[in-house]
């Protein structure tokens, strides 16, 4: 029963506070009066008695506080009181509050924005059942016969299935390039990425369709033409109506029955996958073009680990199986290796480093903001010294004062957190627009519950971080001292100045590190932009022209021929050509020429990537690739003429260093002509960076399409006089008028294509630049504030100096020097740390060394000038001090 009474007492304490205080007052007063009476009875005078009584009591107010403390067991009441007091204090000094909230809000906002990206891309579990157990079997190949990494043959897959113990299930599907189909039956034929999957694909992932059913083992057994479509495709082609299940999709001219629709977030195994069909319905499965298709590496495998099995164990087992496969199939599987990678890791491999870098950057920005606020709070705390001195002398315990000040800073930080959320919401849209399109789970980036929780926790942490120093300092100040000086300021002089200076140093060090990082990325980006791509990308349009698989080769050839004629006749076109490939961005194989006349064959250890490209028309002129020696192809290079090739400079340098390759003869891996004829080099062209703008050019051979009738050249390249995009409508019409079954896709300018290649770098550079700019601004504000307060505090001293004959410039120089020394120390410290950062970032740089002097130097100069400017303005005020009024100032 006691607890009930206790509870009631607590309620009473909370609700009837004033009443209880009055009671307490009366009670204590009664005691003192009785004590006085006793002393008077003993013989003291009334004044003596009063004095003695109060002294015995030990100070009424202090005891009152003690009693109130005894009453106040409930700390919630404390917190509310502190909050109210904090709100009042913040409202009283609105300028400080506004500046502080803005400063910290920017820092928190940046963190929230980046965290929402990190959360969606890196942290959030994938939307599959128990997604941590899903792993990709990623194959690697060493040696010259490298095939595409990640791919395995179906036979190998069957072996893995039989031999493994670590997986509870394995599923397999064709690699993406083999699952691109043409959707016919719409207005225009459309090229679409899909996936041909095995029977247990959906059950392994644990994903259910939103409509209908998934693929079953029966479908595979019967080889039925059924298909499960994506949510987007469902909306687009069937208007999202439920009767889609009775309708069919026309793929490559054949009707496929739609049996299910997947949920909108389902993107497996390829981000652009729009449908899923049974493995056994793939054309290569039904009627393969080559013998023994199952031994070719055209599949990828994904598995679910048994519960309790660690990745390390699965990896060890995979290594064993791989070595068995290497021995069993020495031809196809030489150099085969297998890596077991968790699905999430596989998906985020490319972006993880960049995202972590950005996260580190925003944390630094937040730290700068916190240091700024600590500095401002310290200065302001000095101004409030009087208030705290009075409270301390009235008996407030030190830890209560500290708690009060921390409540203030946390309340401030929470306001900043709210502002930060707003800033993040606004800037998130810009970030998403700028983000590279292949960022995994890009469309799930949003401000959700965990982001809110993160912001809240971060705000509290920031409040504690920047509040602890000023709180401790204010609360531990000597009250007597503060009261004596008329309460204007707390302990002065060197120690406090050094503290402020130390904080300024910290700020500038952090800002310097950020500025260096940004500088390095900017320099890299500029280097990438300025890299000569090997051709002239302005005013070039490109279109991909493909045909459904049943169209005969002859018709395709005729189309290309006619297309070039028609396109060249269009107004505004200066040159046009076609090519089998524009870029070889994912090329990882190494190759060599089979034979080079007059030379020994190249040993496999010296092989580097080598690619063949078929071209027609004025391809080189359209792309703007200059001729270095010999000639371009012409109409005489036909099927009955001598087989010719054109090589690029890299290949020429590789096989004929220092010599003229024109007229030399070579042979590639596939025979040409009637009798495995020699190919003659007709010309040499400049290198084009077909392997990617950031990578070195690779050996490339071009041959005329007319001499290679089994290959197609689906990429049309058109150089225009004016804006290439203005030509698009005419071009489409011209092409479709030749043959209506042509599928046109990938309409873009070469500049856009190059832009996509640099999208990721642009994203990182932009963001890091913005963050470091933010940190710079904050550091500048910080040093301005500190200098401002420093001058204000030393007004008297400076006035004396001026009165005693110091020149205005002398005073300015004095103040400036004392302020700048901390900034310079910070810049130096930051410079030192950024050398370490640069080494960590080395993988992200291009065209510059990690310790790039230009980047480091300009960052240092930038910070120095900003600090100089920010410190100079208040220093100038020092020179304007009127000595007389300064001296009079008491």
């Amino acid at each position: 029963m006691r607890w009930l009474r206790v509870l009631m007492m607590r309620f009473r304490s909370m609700l009837k506070k004033q009443h209880l205080d009055a009671e307490l007052d009366a009670e204590l007063r009664f005691h003192v009066e009785r004590e006085i009476e006793k002393e008077i009875a003993r013989g003291m005078t009334p004044e003596q008695a009063r004095y003695s009584a109060i002294r015995a009591f030990g100070g009424i107010t202090r005891r009152t506080e003690d009693c109130r403390d005894a009453r106040r067991i409930n700390w919630i009441e404390d917190v509310f009181r502190d909050l109210r007091y904090a709100a009042r204090a913040l409202r009283k000094n609105l300028v400080f509050t506004a500046v502080a909230v803005l400063t910290l809000g920017l820092g928190i906002g940046a963190n929230t924005a980046i965290f929402s990206v990190v959360d969606a891309v890196l942290l959030r579990p994938l939307p599959y059942r128990d997604s941590g157990r899903i792993a990709v079997l990623w194959t690697t190949h060493t040696g010259p016969d490298r095939n595409f990494d990640g791919a395995i043959s179906y036979r190998d897959f069957e072996q893995i299935q039989k031999q493994n113990r670590a997986f509870s299930g394995l599923t397999v599907f064709y690699i993406p390039g083999w699952s691109v189909v043409t959707l016919t039956g719409g207005e225009e034929p459309e090229k679409v990425q899909g996936a041909h999957v095995s029977a247990n694909f959906f059950s392994l992932l644990g994903i259910l369709p939103v409509l209908g059913r998934a693929i079953h083992a029966d479908d595979l057994a019967r080889g039925e033409r059924v298909v499960v479509i994506s949510y987007a495709l469902w909306q687009q082609r069937f208007g999202g109506s439920p009767n889609a299940l009775e309708r069919s999709l026309e793929i490559g001219g054949q009707r496929w029955r739609v049996v299910g629709v997947m949920p909108p977030e389902f993107r497996f195994p390829f981000p652009k996958a729009q449908f899923w069909a049974p493995l056994t319905t793939h054309p290569d499965w039904i009627s393969p073009e080559e013998p023994d298709p199952l031994s070719k590496p055209r599949w990828m495998a994904v598995g679910r680990l048994k519960s309790g099995v660690l990745f390390a164990r699965a990896q060890a087992e995979a290594d064993t199986i791989a070595s068995r496969l290497r021995r069993a199939e020495p031809n196809t599987d030489k150099g085969l290796g297998m890596r077991i990678i968790s699905l999430r890791e596989h998906m985020t491999e490319g972006v993880r480093r960049a995202l972590l870098l950005l996260l580190g950057a925003v944390v630094l920005v937040l730290l700068v903001a916190c240091v700024n606020l600590a500095n401002l709070s310290l200065a302001r705390g000095a101004a409030r010294g009087h208030e705290f001195a009075v409270r301390a002398s009235l008996g407030a315990a030190r830890d209560r004062l500290v708690r009060q000040l921390l409540t203030e800073s946390c309340l401030l930080a929470l306001f900043s957190g709210v502002l930060g959320l707003g800033i993040a919401a606004a800037s998130l849209r810009a970030i998403l627009a700028l983000a590279p399109a292949d960022l995994p789970r890009l469309d799930t980036i949003t401000l959700n519950g965990s982001v809110f929780a993160f912001t809240f926790a971060l705000s509290l942490a920031a409040g504690l971080l920047f509040g602890i120093l000023p709180a401790w300092k204010s609360a531990s100040a000597n009250p007597g001292h503060a009261l004596q000086e008329g309460g204007r300021s707390l302990s002065e002089g060197r120690s406090s100045r050094r503290l402020h200076g130390f904080l300024v140093t910290a700020e500038f060090a952090l800002a310097m590190v950020l500025a260096t990082g940004a500088g390095l990325l900017i320099r890299s980006f500029v280097a990438v932009i300025e890299t000569d791509p090997g051709f002239r990308p302005r005013h070039v349009l490109t279109v991909n022209m493909e045909f459904p698989s049943e169209v005969p080769q002859a018709r395709i050839m005729a189309f290309y021929h006619e297309a070039l004629d028609r396109v060249r006749a269009l107004p505004g076109v200066t040159a046009a050509g076609t090519s089998s490939h524009l870029f070889f961005l994912n090329e990882s194989r190494t190759h060599a020429l089979r034979q080079v006349e007059g030379r020994a064959p190249e040993p496999p250890s010296r092989w580097t990537p080598l690619v063949w490209t078929q071209i027609s028309g004025d391809y080189f002129r359209a792309m703007g690739i200059p001729l270095r020696a010999g000639r371009f192809f012409n109409d005489r290079d036909g099927p009955n003429a001598q087989p010719v090739v054109i090589v690029n400079e890299t290949l020429a340098q590789r096989y004929w260093p220092g010599e003229d390759p024109v007229g030399r003869r070579l042979k590639g891996f596939d025979p040409r002509g009637k009798n495995d004829d020699w190919l003659t080099v007709a010309g040499v062209v400049a290198d084009m960076r077909s392997h990617g703008i950031e990578r070195a050019p690779i050996s490339q051979i071009y041959e005329p399409q007319a001499q290679r009738l089994t290959e197609t050249t689906p990429n049309l390249v058109v150089r225009t006089a004016g804006d290439p995009l203005a030509l698009v409508a005419n071009l489409r019409e011209a092409l479709r008028s030749i043959d209506k079954t042509v599928i046109l896709s990938g309409v873009s300018t070469m500049e856009q294509q190059l832009g996509e290649q640099t999208a990721r770098r642009r994203f990182e550079t932009w963001l890091l630049g913005v963050f470091s700019g933010l940190a710079l601004a904050l550091a500048a504000i910080g040093i301005y504030g500190v200098m401002y307060y420093a001058v204000a505090r030393r007004t008297q001293e400076l006035g004396i100096r001026l009165a005693l004959g110091a020149s205005a410039e002398g005073v300015v120089r004095l103040v400036l020097a004392q302020g700048m020394q901390f900034a310079i120390a910070g810049i130096g410290l930051g410079l030192f740390s950024s050398l370490w950062l640069a080494r960590a970032m080395a993988g992200m740089l291009y065209g510059i060394t990690p310790a790039d002097p230009v980047a480091l130097g300009s960052a240092a100069i930038l910070l120095l000038s900003i600090s100089l400017l920010a410190a100079y303005l208040p220093a100038r005020r020092a020179s304007r001090i009127d000595p007389i009024s300064a001296l009079r100032y008491e």
């Binding site: 009671e23 005691h31 005894a70």
Partner: protein
Amino acid sequence: MAKPTDLVQGTLDLLILRTIALQPMHGWGISQRIQQLSSDVLQVQQGSLYPALHRLEQQAWIKSEWGESENNRRAKYYSLTRAGQKQLERETANWQRLSAAIAQVLRTA
């Protein structure tokens, strides 16, 4: 007169409970009574008396009531609750056990 010894908080609680077990009293009365009963050996620190009283009241060992004092002035009277009575018995037993143990150590050590 020997120098008055300072009282530890727990002991003060015990003395307060004992004092008002006999009859309800106000704070000043309690301090005088303790001094009196201990023959002036124990002088309650007046600063710690009232916080102790309020604490005991918050814990519902004692309850308070405003009433008329001897000289017709309003004063706050404290009395023991039933839970407080039990607490007093418990604390007294503890104290006796403690002091007996200490005395034994002092005798034999």
